[in-house]
């Protein structure tokens, strides 16, 4: 074998070949051609990839935001939101509405609207749909162990006789023929004629119209719905009597439309459900050709533009794969987690100029938009052991320790550098834009700010003068008062104690913030006073379970408004039997009384008083530091720049594709 200076020619050829291949690959990878027209444009198809999957797709069962995305495109409501002012309620399937008296609303229905199955939309469909919601009153898809009392039904049941609701009465209903008749006898929907209904509520409220915008109030085709449920339930042949159907359906959310593998055509919306794959979670929607278009055709593309024919929701758990699909033009839009925002948007422009600018050719980042939700740190009192015995160590019963925790983090810094500035700092629980106007009052401010010196002073005081008896807010699990001497909040290096921040796995931003807080607080108190702070990461459901059983010191909580109205904040957040106060075991009589007053003011339509009460409640909560309010979320959407006429509804946090079309960017 010939050699050049000791190296064989074979080796030289091999090295050259390798270099050529490496150079070729490098050129191939670094010099891709400009993106061309994506395939989905030619196919007139919209592909949305995300790491979320649906839970229930029956509008009268679901209460999950991702489900709403599908449901909104398929099922419509009597009233909904104006496009240019997406918090203003306008008649939708209804032509008009009138409030006849404080508990009666008359809706004139639009003519010539068809359901996707070809049947006409009329008063009977409204009567059927709204009563179906009340009668299902359940969520679980498990036919053997149905879970009674659903969030969806609860929304409307609160306007009626609450003794007929499992969730609101606390009593499991019989769900028999007598119960069905009792629900129907409330005469919630009265048919006046084929295109006029009167809705009778039992509790006057200004929340009525916002509640009626929710997907739970979706109007469905009676014939297709009944046929689907009869086939799915194996109930034989329907006798034509709606009551018979309702008796079958009573108390069970296990309907034909939760996992509609073969699709559905039960709504009046712009798209019908073509198929749902329960294994891959892929949902396919197809354009409904006879769609009426919404009021003044606002739910259709501009004249001359072609509506998107097919919408596919694809479950793609890996963000990296989603991003490749978006860049390659196989996905029209993708879900981008907050921690990955700078994979799609220019970091400097966002941090310095507050503009979300895409760094991907052919892709637009829309936003940020405000949404109606708030995140906070819950300080719990009355913490119990798993066997329900009262714990003597009640750290957050002590105002000083609540305040010390609140002073341990710079939330402005955290929002910018940990949360990538993707939220709006909260002054109190009420987010901007909450109805009625004036509910959001930035003047009701938090009483804490980042101050480690103050935190150190507070902890020192709590160490030197520990809380040794129960406060007026504390009581046993069964509600009886706690006598002096049961609480022992003493701690020292010889008697170390832990305070735990619970947070759900995957919530990376919150985990980082809690870790920072724990680090700062441990630096103050760990070795000097024997008070240790730690972060406990658990699945989301586990966190809620422990919180609901009052077994944890604190946790990260968030409330997404069910509909845009201030009452939907005050009750769950401040009433002692509301969701979060009941979890946290706060029981402030003054807030309970104010909640009652707020409901009365709402019933009377006295908005001025309602807003005064709202401010007062937020002020008290801030002063007591019942929550360390963090921020209100925002939304942003990463979509192909070919997608035009883009808009979203902030109340439900979804973008709406009915009026969209493709055009060269």
């Amino acid at each position: 074998m010939s050699k050049i200076r000791g190296i064989s020619t074979t080796a030289i050829v091999a090295i050259i070949a390798v270099l050529v291949v490496v150079a070729g690959v490098a050129w191939f990878l670094t010099a891709p051609p400009a993106p061309t027209k994506p395939k989905f444009v030619d196919e007139n198809k919209l592909v949305y990839e995300s790491g979320n999957t649906y839970q229930w797709m029956d509008p009268h069962v679901s209460y999950y935001q991702f489900d709403y995305w599908t449901i909104w495109h398929s099922v419509e409501t009597l009233v909904w939101y104006e496009r240019e002012n997406p918090t203003k309620i306008i008649p939708w399937l209804a032509e008009s509405y009138t409030q006849i008296d404080p508990t009666t609303y008359e809706f004139k229905l639009r003519h010539n609207i068809k359901f996707q199955d070809g049947t006409p939309f009329n008063a009977t469909a409204v009567w059927f749909s709204l009563n179906r919601l009340l009668i299902i009153d359940g969520t679980s898809g498990d036919p053997v162990h149905p879970v009674h009392g659903s969030q969806a039904a609860w929304m409307v049941q609160q306007l009626l006789d609450v003794s007929l609701s499992s969730a609101l009465s606390g009593e499991d209903q019989a769900y028999d023929a007598a119960w069905v008749q009792a629900v129907l006898d409330q005469n919630f929907v009265e048919i006046v004629d084929d295109y006029t209904v009167r809705i009778h509520i039992q509790t006057p409220t200004t929340q009525f119209l916002p509640i009626m915008t929710g997907p739970w109030a979706g109007i469905v085709s009676p014939s297709s719905t009944i046929a689907g449920d009869y086939e799915y339930g194996g109930w034989g042949t329907w006798d034509g009597n709606y009551v018979t159907y309702f008796v079958h359906r009573a108390g069970s959310g296990d309907t034909a439309f939760n996992v509609p593998e073969h699709g559905w055509k039960i709504g009046t919306g712009a798209y019908y459900v073509e198929s749902v794959d329960p294994t891959t979670y892929k949902i396919v929607l197809k354009a409904f050709e006879d769609y009426w278009g919404g009021p003044d055709s606002i739910n259709l593309p501009p004249a001359g533009k072609q509506r998107i024919e097919t919408i596919e929701f694809v479950y793609q758990p890996s963000f990296s794969t989603r991003l490749l699909d978006l860049k390659a033009g196989t996905a029209t839009g993708i879900g981008v987690p907050e921690v990955d925002i700078f994979s799609v948007a220019d970091r400097d422009k966002w941090i310095n100029e507050g503009k979300l600018v895409s760094i991907i050719d052919g892709v637009t980042v829309h936003g940020v938009y405000p949404t109606f939700n708030t995140w906070w740190l819950s300080f719990n009192t009355n913490v119990t052991n798993p066997d329900k015995t009262f714990k003597s160590w009640q750290p957050f019963a002590d105002f000083r320790l609540r305040m010390a925790a609140a002073c341990s983090i710079n939330l402005t810094y955290a929002n910018i550098y940990i949360n990538n500035r993707l939220s709006v700092l909260a002054n109190n629980i009420i987010p901007p834009g909450t109805a009625p106007e004036g509910s959001y009052n930035p003047d009701v401010k938090p009483i804490f700010s980042f101050n480690l010196t103050k935190a150190a002073e507070l902890i020192k005081d709590a160490y030197e003068h520990p809380l040794t008896s129960a406060t007026h807010k504390m009581h046993y699990y069964n509600g009886t008062d706690i006598p002096p001497g049961v609480v022992d909040n003493s701690f020292s290096p010889a008697n170390p104690k832990y305070i735990e921040f619970y947070v759900q796995s995957g919530a990376d931003t919150f985990i980082k913030i809690f870790t920072t807080m724990a680090d700062n607080l441990n630096a103050i108190s760990r070795s000097k006073y024997g008070l240790m702070w730690r972060v406990v990461i658990v699945p989301g459901g586990q966190q809620y379970t422990l919180a609901s059983r009052h077994q944890i010191d604190s946790y990260i909580g968030g409330w997404i408004a069910d509909y845009n109205h201030v009452i939907d904040w005050l009750i769950p957040m401040y009433l002692s039997s509301g969701t979060y106060f009941s979890w946290n075991r706060w029981s402030l009589k003054v807030l309970d009384d104010l909640c009652d007053e707020a409901v009365e003011a709402d019933k009377a339509g006295d908005i001025t008083r309602l807003l005064e009460i709202n401010d007062e409640m937020n002020r008290i909560a801030n002063e007591q530091l019942v929550y360390m309010v963090w921020w209100h979320d925002t939304e942003y959407y990463t979509r192909s720049s070919w997608l035009k006429s883009w808009y979203m509804n902030p109340v439900y946090g979804v973008d709406l594709w009915s009026s969209m079309y493709y055009e060269t960017p």
């Binding site: 051609p33 969520t139 162990h145 794959d277 294994t279 990296s320 699909d325 196989t330 459901g541």
Partner: protein, 344 residues
């Protein structure tokens, strides 16, 4: 002991093994101090404390642990494997598991075929061309295989064979998923390629095959490396044996010596490895299925972990354990055919 007696004995033992596994796993899932509360997957942030307690009562999670175990065991034996949380639409656990399982079977079979089809010849070539260029190349491939993280290799495959090829307008493979033509053929086995073949739909079958290539190759790359090394080592050892020298001295062709005399004996450890690899894959390749959105049990069990769904994880662990025990048994039986000296 006859072979069938041995198999029956092992199958009987398997019942006790599974019972033991179920006991341990049940305790870990439900009773371990930091275990996930079984009610977790049913809970959402808007439930009241009373509603959560109602869920707990309905599902019997308020009972003492040992009673829960017997209830669970009874239900399992009666075919009621419990239900999943809302994350899997509250469907029965066995329905969820077995709707995803065929996808994992298809991926495992494909990955195993690729492993054997590439790893075996590479190992043989490597041994026959010991310390020559083919051996070096083969060893580099093997080393790269078992030292490359599966998730990273998956991304590289996606980047090259999907992203860059599609950007250049060249024929490319899909980035993810098991099929791009869902609903075109009816679900018979749940394995897209097989369903396409059974339906006689060439387009669907080819589309399903295209979706299968990247995840299968990504998975096989790791085991291919191990198999290559094992076969090479086995072959080198066997090729030095006296009976090989004898076979050659009798004038047998090199082909007969290698494939009939040497390879058969060198295969025993390779069969063990392939069998165990296949069994492990049937338990689901979590990361690969996640990266490629492959709807197998690996991906779904990963979701169950994050949701804390002990019902699903119990079933998943039990079935996976059963698969591994059975695979072990099959491998042991195969030894008899590969090496007549082995008796049970």
């Amino acid at each position: 002991m006859k072979l069938y007696e041995y198999i029956i004995r092992r199958l009987i033992l398997m019942i006790f093994v599974l019972l033991g596994i179920s006991l341990i796993v049940f305790y870990l899932a439900r009773g371990f101090p930091t275990g996930i509360d079984p009610v977790t997957p049913y809970i959402h942030s808007k439930m009241t404390a009373e509603q959560i307690e109602m869920v707990r009562k309905i599902h019997g999670f308020d009972q003492p642990l040992y009673i829960q175990f017997f209830y669970w065991l009874r239900d399992i034996l009666q075919g009621d494997w419990g239900i999943t949380g809302t994350w899997a639409n509250s469907r029965p656990t066995n329905v969820v598991f077995f709707s995803h399982f065929p996808y994992t079977v298809e991926l495992s079979v494909a990955a195993t075929i690729l492993t054997v089809a590439i790893g075996l010849p590479l190992g043989i070539i490597s041994a026959l061309k010991n310390n020559k260029l083919p051996d070096h190349v083969s060893r580099i491939i093997a080393l790269a295989g078992y030292s490359t993280p599966a998730y990273w290799f998956g991304f590289v495959l996606q980047l090259v064979f999907f992203y860059y090829l599609s950007l250049w307008g060249l024929p490319h493979l899909p980035s993810s998923g098991a099929s791009g033509m869902e609903g075109v053929v009816s679900r018979i086995t749940g394995m897209p390629v097989l369903d396409g073949i059974l339906a006689g739909n060439l387009g669907y079958t080819l589309d399903a095959l295209a979706h299968l290539i990247l995840p299968a190759f990504s998975l096989s790359f790791i085991s291919m490396g191990f198999l290559t090394r094992i076969v090479r080592a086995g072959m080198l050892e066997v090729l030095r044996q006296d009976y090989i020298t004898l076979a050659r001295s009798k004038g047998l062709t090199e082909r007969v010596v290698i494939y009939r005399h040497a390879l058969k004996n060198a295969l025993i450890p390779a069969v063990t490895l392939t069998g165990m690899f296949f069994a492990l894959l049937l338990g689901g390749a979590m990361i690969t299925e996640y990266v490629f959105a492959w709807p197998g049990v690996g991906q779904i069990s990963l979701r169950a972990v994050f949701q804390g769904d002990s019902n699903f994880l119990l079933v998943y662990t039990l079935v996976t354990a059963a698969i591994i025990v059975i695979a072990n048994l099959i491998v042991d039986v195969l030894y008899v055919f590969l090496d007549p000296r082995i008796k049970y």
